[in-house]
């Protein structure tokens, strides 16, 4: 099945007079492209570039430092998705904080964190809200439940970010040359393919919403190449079995009720306007940053900032540096001893390259 798409890719790239660079934005696409072996099958004229779609990778140092600081208080339990545990903050990590006695717990969903808070009313449960639009509806639900049930000892430390505006910012920066976007599959289940239309029109770039099986990604690449060959730029859906143009309107409504857009700092990319989410005033009593500002500030003020390291995660996330070309890659920065989140996170670009194929230059 994949063979026929690979053959088509060869034919199409033969008609294009330059190498084609397709950015796959989503961390799961990065991993899937390696894990399925698709990368090893792509013809020479097309290459896949990994973008900033790894929510852990783009979470800045300060967020981690705040979470670690909060975990240090006896009355606070920090609950988090698993892949945040090993990410290095400026001095420590959640994993290390747990080993030293802080109560940090891995949960599979914010509903678990809310349940834990209800079971232990004497302690305050903070949930680290990190993730893109795939994740935000479940966090919105948890906040609405917390308010409805009056669960006073539960709050979310909101670090959520949104994808389409970030994609635009990448292109507007001018540094990166991208010929097409492989748009994230599951984010699009929520926001719908319509979310990419402004970007597609403004930047005149093909956008194809793609699934995660090898056949999905292979077909997605063909659809982008077909657009390039016929000089089109459109938003198309490859992942039609789950993605629609409008997306999940109930989920979007729940998010609108709880969150409001804000500016957001992306590790390596700086502050990008309108790409973050903040918890609305209505839900202020479940907003960690509003409840505990003095705790966080007091501790952070005393922390000595390390001198900036030679970490190039920012350039990797912008797609201007390939992991094997980073001087630290595989030498000083490895999964066992990571310097930046791109190597730690299970969806990080560098982690994928290291784990699956850097040694054969896929």
């Amino acid at each position: 099945m994949i063979e026929k798409y690979i053959t088509e890719m060869r034919t199409l790239t033969g008609k294009i007079d330059r190498p084609v660079r397709i950015m796959e934005v989503c961390g799961t696409h990065t991993m899937a492209a390696f894990r399925t072996g698709l990368r090893s099958m792509l013809p020479g004229g097309v290459s896949l570039l990994s973008g900033p779609g790894c929510p852990v990778c783009v979470t800045p140092d300060t967020y981690l430092d705040q979470a670690i600081a909060l975990a240090g208080f006896p009355g606070i339990v920090v609950t988090t998705f698993g892949d945040m545990m090993r990410v290095p903050g400026s001095e420590s990590s959640l994993e290390r904080a747990r080993a030293l006695g802080s109560d940090v717990r891995i949960v599979y969903s914010p509903a678990d964190a809310l349940g834990a808070a209800r079971a232990e009313p004497s302690r305050h449960f903070v949930f680290l809200g990190v993730g893109f639009e795939t994740t935000t509806p479940t966090v919105a639900w948890a906040l609405k439940e917390a308010k409805r049930r009056g669960v006073r000892n539960f709050s979310v430390m909101c670090g959520h970010k949104t994808i389409p505006a970030a994609m635009n910012a990448l292109l507007s920066g001018g540094e990166v040359h991208i010929d097409g976007f492989m748009c994230p599959g599951h984010v699009s289940v929520v926001i719908g393919s319509q979310a990419y239309e402004p970007l597609c029109r403004q930047q005149r770039i093909p956008c194809v919403v793609t699934g995660f099986e090898a056949a999905d990604m292979a077909l997605g690449i063909c659809m982008i190449l077909r657009q390039i060959v016929s000089n089109r730029h459109e938003v198309e859906i490859e992942y039609s079995r789950t993605v629609t143009k409008q997306g999940n309107e109930a989920a979007q409504l729940a998010c609108d009720e709880v969150f409001v857009r804000s500016d957001s700092e992306w590790r390596g990319l700086g502050v990008i306007p309108g790409t973050g989410l903040q918890i609305r005033e209505d839900f202020a009593e479940h907003d960690t940053l509003r409840i505990h500002p003095e705790k966080i500030d007091a501790v952070l003020a005393r922390q000595v900032r390390k001198a900036p390291s030679s970490c190039r995660c920012g350039d990797v996330l912008r797609g201007i540096l390939s992991p094997p070309d980073c001087p630290l890659f595989g030498i000083r920065c490895t999964p066992v001893d990571p310097i930046g989140p791109c190597m730690v996170s299970s969806e990080g670009t560098c982690s994928a390259y290291f784990k699956y194929g850097c040694r054969q230059h896929y």
Binding site: R39, F73, G101, V299
Partner: protein
């Protein structure tokens, strides 16, 4: 029942049970000896006097700290015998004698202890080993301090003290095993050669996913159960018929990936596995996919990896498949002629990628 003093103290293990006096003796006699009885153990000497005719021996030890202690398909007691017996089997050694050490937190229910010892006895009998010596210790209930670095807390003007909470009482086991190596058998991980085939004796990832499902309360509705079982009776006939098996390894923590990577690295060879050939139950694939885990990295407790010359493949598979524990045995890859130390996977899609040893904990992903 067993203690002569006080009602309400008879149902849990107490610190006094570890004191070495009357209560210790009663615990051993009433809970342990009946299940594990053999002439050597019964003597309760300081050391067991054993004799083994063979002079080439294998010895191994393992500690068992699994949580939860009871899980679908087995418990810590069954695991403690099988794990050690299988390490001996993987070395081509017939398991003969085991020691059993218990470290029990006070408050652990006696009924649970009986159940665990019952499993130990059952596993020992089906493996043909005698448990000839042991030890029992009781420790204070562990406490979790819900607090920080005291200095950090003080700096921030927080409370100096934290909150002590008692954890659920646990139990830890250690077993050390001695076995007699079969003559003419050398199954070191350094022996793999180009042209050899890689065999697995059954489906991957059953144990790890059963544990994760139970421990994390995931309530994935399925029949996920640990595959824990003793392997000597599966392996011995193979070694009798084909003494020239090159390597054996059981893919426990780190899964098949870790075991095969060990072989590749230690033998200095390149191994190519075929994703299509990897036997995985649909429910294991499904739960891995939900949690973002790779079945290649998930622990097994009742499977073996064998490496043998291609000419022996048919015979080995026939013998394995004749045993209930080996019905789904199959070839999953080959040792190829390429720069050594790596493991490659030919993917179902037709591409290729590298298989690597996982770093540490496999952490479930955000999205």
């Amino acid at each position: 029942m067993m203690m002569s003093d006080g009602a309400g103290r008879k149902d849990v293990v107490l610190l006094a049970h570890g004191g070495g006096g009357l209560m210790t003796r009663k615990l051993i006699e009433e809970v342990i000896l009946g299940e594990l009885e053999n002439p050597i153990l019964k003597r309760m000497d300081d050391a067991a006097c054993i004799s083994i005719a063979e002079t080439e021996l294998a010895m191994t030890t393992d500690s068992y700290v699994i949580d939860p202690v009871f899980f679908p398909g087995g418990d810590i007691g069954y695991l403690a015998v099988c794990g050690t017996v299988n390490d001996l089997a993987m070395q081509g050694a017939e398991p003969r004698f085991l020691s059993l050490a218990l470290i029990i937190e006070e408050g652990f229910r006696i009924d649970d202890l009986k159940r665990i010892i019952g499993s130990v006895g059952k596993a020992a009998r089906s493996s043909g080993v005698s448990i000839v010596t042991g030890d029992t210790k009781v420790i204070e209930r562990s406490r979790r301090y819900g607090g920080p670095d005291a200095a950090l807390s003080a700096m921030a003007g927080g409370q100096a003290g934290g909150e002590w909470r008692a954890g659920e009482p646990g139990i830890f086991l250690n077993t050390t095993g001695i076995g007699a190596r079969l003559a003419g058998v050398d199954v070191s991980v350094t022996n793999a050669k180009p042209g050899d085939v890689i065999i697995i004796t059954g489906t991957m990832g059953d144990h790890g996913m059963a544990i994760m499902n139970t421990r994390e309360g995931l309530k994935l509705s399925s029949d996920l159960a640990s595959d824990v079982q003793p392997l000597w009776s599966l392996i011995k006939p193979v070694l009798d018929a084909v003494p020239d098996i090159h390597c054996m390894r059981d893919p426990t923590r780190g899964g098949v990936a870790a075991a095969v990577c060990d072989i590749a690295r230690s033998s200095g060879v390149c191994i190519r596995l075929s994703e299509k050939s990897l036997p995985v139950k649909p429910e294991v694939l499904g739960s891995c996919s939900i949690l973002g885990l790779d079945p290649l990295n998930v622990a097994n407790e009742g499977k073996a990896i064998l490496v043998c010359a291609e000419k022996d493949l048919v015979v080995v598979l026939e013998i394995l498949r004749a045993h209930p524990a080996g019905r789904e045995s199959c070839a999953i890859g080959k040792v190829i002629d390429a720069p050594g130390g790596m493991v490659l996977l030919e993917t179902t899609a037709g591409g290729e990628r590298i298989v690597d040893v996982p770093t540490g904990e496999d952490l479930p992903r955000i999205c």
